[in-house]
Amino acid sequence: MNFYPDIVNKVEQKSEESVLQIKELSAVFPNGNGGLQALDKVSFSVSPQEFICVLGPSGSGKSTLLRILAGLLNPTDGKVIYQGADICGPRRDIGFVFQKANLMPWRTVLQNILLPLELENIPALEADRLAREMVKLVGLCGFEDTLPRDLSGGMAQRVAIGRALVHDPHLLLLDEPFGALDALTRERMGTELLRIWQVRRKTVVMVTHSISEALFLADRVLVLTPRPGSVRLDFSVDLHRPRNDEIRYTREFNDMTRVLRNAIG
């Protein structure tokens, strides 16, 4: 008994091709004179297992966008539809990687990665197994019992990535995860993230202000305008996968870099 078969079909189709839809998202932060507008009608959608990078100058509301997607912040206007439902408030099947590693200093590497599983009350044995598997995946074998104070910046960020993935979320959000690292470590972590993503395919939205990082990692790059941020360019990165470091030195890569550089302005 279907009165509107066409519409229903359309909706189903839509939810099949995109897990995440951002519709006319605006965010205004209250301040003295009328409010500070961080985002202005941002719209885009993300397909399952797609890797999206959001690129933009400082203050273009990139982090605001990500915090809204994580449910940490409510938009002033607009909608985020995730797997067919509005996002209102945080959800457990989202993994979030912060700019700083943001580890609990009193927890060891393993315990930090265990945290999301503990919060979900997963039996200790199973949780331990999953966490150790994750330690291995992020390349920190032998550092299970190390405290964050003894980790380098790159290692700490590996733990943060492990923590964001250990409860097997569908959506991974990364907020300039390598922004605090030095250039060389940063490049290496990009490669690592790609490797990890190829093992655990997730839908990823990552905020960055490095063009080469965005091109190297993403299927699609969204360029935001300066404040208030809106989508200036939706750019598909047609570089074949699996990618390796060599790709950074190809002609195509260079051409795309130029396009994105010009779009940022």
Binding site: F96, N102, E118, L147
Partner: protein
């Protein structure tokens, strides 16, 4: 003999830093005692003005033998423990509420600060009138004096937790209790324990102030008694007992810190600089 690295390390540590401190402390204590003896001897003071170390020791033995020292110490210890427990629990609970709600903080904090400008010695007599000269008024005075440092450090400790970690817990949909146990308690603990360290030493003062004002037992009463009878040696015995109590309490908190905060950068194992 097979030591692994850790054992070797701790052995070395003991030899390098721990043992000499103990020896130094003993030497220093001996010198102080000797100087004290020398002054009392050379000055030829009567015992009620400055008793010699030997007089104090003899008085100590007497008061141990007649059971009075232990009896009075236990009373004071009971007051301290109850006062600490009560003061710390109220301060922690209120501190949590203050740290969580700015409105509540604005509403209540003027009163808390105002209450701190009143010397405890001034309100102790009133509290004795209200709550009697029994143990409960002492416990109350003791907890009042413990209250403030613990409260302030609870608030500061909770506020010192990075917002990003709060966001992390929120993004993982942690419940209120999960956030308290997995983030807020461990996160606030270093600063909180600093407050407890101050509170523990102050608690001794609180109990004695209470006993001074009105009591017929406890070390404060013993001091009063000694003073009234020109038994200055007894005053010394009581004061030393109080010092040992305060130092033990302090030491317990330090041990607690070492135990619970082993994840922090190891401090240089001094008492005050943590």
């Amino acid at each position: 003999m097979n030591f692994n690295d850790k054992q070797k390390h701790s052995f070395q540590k003991m030899h390098n830093s721990y043992m000499p401190t103990v020896i130094l402390a003993v030497i220093f204590l001996t010198i102080t005692g000797f100087l004290w003896w020398l002054i009392s001897r050379l000055g030829n003071y009567p015992s009620f003005i400055l008793p010699s170390p030997l007089d104090v020791w003899n008085r100590f033995v007497v008061s141990i033998n007649d059971g009075s020292l232990i009896r009075h110490s236990l009373v004071t210890l009971k007051e301290i423990m109850a006062g600490l427990a009560f003061g710390v629990s109220v301060a922690t609970a209120l501190g949590y509420a203050l740290a969580k709600s700015r409105t509540f903080e604005k509403l209540v904090s003027p009163y808390i600060v105002a209450s701190q400008s009143v010397p405890i010695v001034a309100i102790a007599p009133i509290l004795i009138i209200w709550f009697g000269s029994g143990i409960s008024s002492k416990i109350l005075i003791c907890s009042l004096i413990v209250f403030f440092p613990v409260l302030v450090n609870t608030v500061v400790g909770l506020r010192s937790i990075p917002n990003e970690l709060q966001d992390l817990m929120r993004s993982l949909k942690a419940s209120r209790w999960q956030t308290i146990f997995k983030l807020e308690i461990p996160g606030a603990l270093p600063v909180f324990l600093g407050g407890l360290r101050v509170g523990a030493t102050l608690s001794v003062i609180g109990a004695v102030v209470g006993e001074f004002v009105g009591s017929d037992k406890g070390l404060g009463f013993m001091i009063n008694l000694g003073r009234g009878q020109y038994d200055t040696a007894l005053v010394f015995v009581s004061v030393f007992t109080l010092i040992i109590m305060a130092m033990s309490l302090y030491g317990i908190v330090i041990l607690l810190e070492k135990r619970l905060l082993s994840w922090q950068q190891s401090s240089n194992d001094t008492i005050l600089e943590h």
